[in-house]
Structures are given as C-alpha cells and as structure tokens.
Symmetry: C2
Subunit: 310 residues, 2 copies
C-alpha cells in the first residue's frame, strides 16, 4: 500500500521481443521512465493526481514513439485526428475531446474542457475553436509526423531491417493509446487517456479513448482506469466503468475487477488490449490480454517497474 502512486501505459498489442532491437527497446523504456517520473515528481511535491496524470500523458504525447499527440497515426484521408479524456475521481468532473487536429497536447485540451468549459465532450472544429479561445498550444501538421523527424529518427536508430520493421510497426500498431492513473497524497485519484486512433481509420471513427466510462473513468470510491486496445469492444463493454461497478456493487478488489473485465468480459467479445488502474487505498494494477503492453508504475512504497512484454 502506498501513500501515492502513478501508473502509465503507452499502448497494447502484438509487441514481440523478436521485433525489437536493444536500442529501440531502450528508447521505449526511457520514454516510459520519463513520463512516469514526470508524474511521480509532481505527486511527491503534493500536487494533485489530476495534474500528475495530465503531465505524464503530455510527456507521452510529446514522444514520437507513441500514437498520441506527436507521432499520431494517419487516418485514411491522411489527416491526424486525435482523441483524449481526463476524469477527476474526487469531483467526478470529466473532460474529453474527439477528432481534434493540430492540438499539441489533446489531454491538456480535455483538462481545459473539464476545468473551464460547461460541457464534458467537445468535438472536431468546435473543440479546436474552444482550444484557441483558451490559449491551448497548437502545432502545424508536420509537427505530428514530419518526414524530416522520421528520417532523422531512423538514422539515429540505424537502418537495419528490424528497425525498419519497427518503424512500420509504429505506424501500423493499432492500439497505441497512452494513459495514466494516479493517487495523490490527499487520497484523490484521477485517470487520463490520449490517442491518435487507428491507422487508416475511416469515416471519422471515434474509439473508446474519449468516452468517459469506456476508455477513462475515475471515482475516489472505487478506482481510476485508463484503457488501451481495440476500441470498439471497449465501448460496447463500457470497460472502465465496469471495473468501478464490480468494485462498488460486488466488493471486488481493484486487481480482481480488472482481471474479470480484461480476461473474461472483453475476451468474450474479441476485445484485445489492457488497462492500468489505481484505487484510493494505494493499490495499482496493470492487466492486459494482448502480447504486450508498454507500461510502468512507481509507488511511494518503493515499487517501481517499467515493462513491455508479458
């Protein structure tokens, strides 16, 4: 049991050791470690869980390795539309944005929707206009995925086939959502999620990440959850809130509830992916049914882990 704790994920899916180089694996673990420490150091200073999950997710959005913010995948029409959400377990306030373009940190916009707006969920051009009215930072298209940065990064990592394969894998990885959950010193929990969605997504598809209850949920009474996976089954299963209900109505522990949802309920409807969770008692869990999940946790009791594979 910890006084404060944070967990993060950088997406789940078919992540195989055989597709990795040592350098690339280090790049991933370094980025996860940095996001973890960004959030943890805020919690250590007594800053709120909401601010900690926002900061951790912004760190992952800024890293081109993950499919959120910078590095978001391309939709069928060549655009990069991003979704994000955040929820405060103390107040049950929430903010979400879907199909936003050119927002440097979609989770920051979701946070601002929660704190400054009268609505929970804003979409598309309207969300962008709201962002401008609030002074949220925007970036041009090439920031999110420029050929220059891509080539530069390839050169840095070397040009062997495995790296090329992995580059391709980054663009094709379906479940590259990022997220964070945290418990702060005051006993409040929060969750945040951000994604660039599915590669080649069509028809303005919205996944589970901006859906409160599906991709993100937080309630001091139960848990804070951020999901990553094949969004459609996660929406149909109301995944994040289901963990909360199993805890509240059936008295299950965080770990038990997450296990049932990920390994039973989601699998029954072909839902591949995983989730991270925290509760107000200091428990933290990371559960997935896919080959791997980029993930990390750091707790004030000394537990500290960054992992990729099973």
């Amino acid at each position: 049991m910890s006084d404060f704790t944070i967990a993060i994920h950088g997406g789940a899916g078919t992540i195989l050791r055989s597709d990795m180089t040592t350098d690339l694996e280090r790049a991933y673990t370094d980025a996860l470690e940095q996001a973890l420490m960004t959030g943890y150091s805020l919690l250590e200073k007594g800053i709120s869980s909401v601010d900690a999950v926002k900061a951790a997710v912004m760190s992952l959005e800024d890293c081109i390795l993950f499919n959120a913010g910078r590095g978001s995948v391309f939709a069928k029409d060549g655009s990069q539309e991003m979704d994000a959400s955040i929820m405060d377990g103390e107040t049950l306030m929430a903010g979400a944005v879907s199909a936003v373009r050119n927002i440097k940190n979609p989770v920051e916009l979701a946070y601002t929707v929660m704190t400054e707006g009268e609505h929970v969920m804003l979409n598309g051009q309207g969300a962008y206009d709201f962002a401008l009215s609030q002074g949220i930072k925007t970036e041009k298209d090439d920031y999110f995925f420029s050929q220059f940065r891509y080539d530069q990064w390839k050169q840095l990592q070397g040009t062997d086939k495995a790296v090329l394969d992995h580059n391709v894998a980054i663009r094709d990885k379906k479940f590259g959502t990022v997220g964070a959950v945290a418990l702060d010193k005051k006993g409040n929990i929060a969750a945040a999620t951000s994604t660039g969605g599915m590669t080649n997504k069509k028809w303005g598809r919205v996944g589970d990440s901006p859906i409160i209850g599906a991709g993100t949920y937080a309630n001091n009474k139960t848990c804070a959850i951020s999901c990553t996976g094949h969004g459609e089954p996660f929406i149909r299963a109301v995944t994040a809130y289901d963990v909360s209900c199993l805890m509240e109505y059936k008295g299950l522990s965080l770990q038990e509830a997450m296990h049932i949802v990920v390994h039973d309920k989601l699998l029954r409807i072909d839902g591949e992916g995983g989730m991270i969770g925290a509760d107000a008692k200091g428990n933290t869990a990371m559960v997935f049914n896919s080959e791997g999940m980029y993930r990390g946790m750091k707790c004030s009791d000394g537990r500290h882990e960054v992992s990729i594979y099973k």
Copy 2:
C-alpha cells in the same frame, strides 16, 4: 409481465401544464401514440426489438415537435448537428453517430454503422460520407427547420400567446432527446436514442445520446435503457450502464435500479432528466426527476399509457 413491450420518450425537462394548450397537448400525445404504435405493430408481427426501436425513433425524428431529426435545435453557429445511437441486447453490438448534419434519420445511420460498418461510433463529415456510401437518406437544411413549415405549423395551431410561448419553448427546451426501448417475442431487448442536442450549443459539444453506456445501453442479461436529460451529468454518471450494473451485480429489479440512478445518483451531480427501460422478463419502466417527460409504453399484456406530466 408481457411477451413483448415497447416504451418511448420524447424528452424531459420543465414541461408545465400551464404552458400547454389543449391542441398542442393533443399534437404531442398523437405523435407519441403514432411512434408507439409504429414500434408495437412491428413487435406484434414478430419483428425484432432492434427494428422496432429504430422505427419508433424514426417516427419521432420525423415529427417536427421533437428535438431530433426534423425539428432539431440550432447550435450557436446556426447549424443543426445531430447525435444518435442504438444497441442490440442480444449481441451487444452497437452503433452511434455524433455531430452529423443533413441526415434525415440519424438513428437509421447509427443502425447502419452497427450492422454494416466495422466501427461503433462515427463522427461529423466522416459519418456523413459513410451515410452516402450506404445510401442513407439525406435532406437539405430547410427540411430540418424551415420558416415555411414553422409558420405553417403556427398557423395550424392558432396564434395565441400560449402557442407562441410554446413555440419558443420547443426551440429552447434543452432535453428534447427522443428514444425507445423494446422487448420482442424472441426475448431480445434493444435501445435507441436520437437528439438535436442543446439549443445554442457551442464548440462542437457532444452530449450523452451517442455515448454507449451513458445515453443508450442494452444487454439481454439486464436491461435496455434510453436516457434524456442534461447530457453532461449523464456522461459523468455513465447512466444507462449503471442501471445494468445495479441489476447484474446487486440483483436489483429494473424499477429499483432506475430509481436509484435517476433519483439518487443523478441528483447528487445536478443531473436533471429521466430514462425509459425494459428488461427481458417483460418489465417496463419510465422514471424522471424533472417536471415532465414526454413518454409512452404499450405492452402485450394490455398496459398502454401516453403521458407528459408527473
């Protein structure tokens, strides 16, 4: 207990007898009756609950009195953006659309997303493009709210102040969502919801209606729910799925679970509105915490009700 049953709503809010004329009240109850019979007659023929709720909601969308499809309210920028969703309790398949324009029947598009697409939720222009590819019927802007139809309707109803007030009320009524839930002869349940959103809504706001788990949910094991109300609290409370969880995990009846969610959980976060529900055993319920809710139910055991006020 009925072999088959349908319930519908045409929105909830501050609906006062003092704002009504006899003619107007009749127009509302006739429209509700027509939608109810449209769905009921399908169920009577052995057609599925999914088809019945779709047909009932289309009937309400086609009526200019309700804020969905034709008659949708105007957003701040003068546009009419509509949301809809549908869920099949047998398969847990679902479809939803948000921020769509010029779609004659948004619930028909949500149904087609569920049955023909690979995604659950489509948004904006992408959803519109998908609609065209599927031959979904579109209409020009003036179909949804033309001055001609408006004036014609005013003339038909007379020109006294009460009617004018009511005309204004139609445009200002915040919670004018429509929806339906049904149980068919095979024991399958389904739910559907459709809305034009909030008058003067800004920033591409998305309410609870297209959110599976919030505005709409259906699962043969528990219940089919369609909500109407102030969307933001309904999203934060994951309202429709909460009813399902209270039934599945705590063993509550449909009526008990709906009562807790509407009169306790929603009120605690200032959530005004209501919901209709059906379960696979033939129970039907209509619960609201607002002044009124346009509503109706018709069951094979003979129960038949159309009401507006408390």
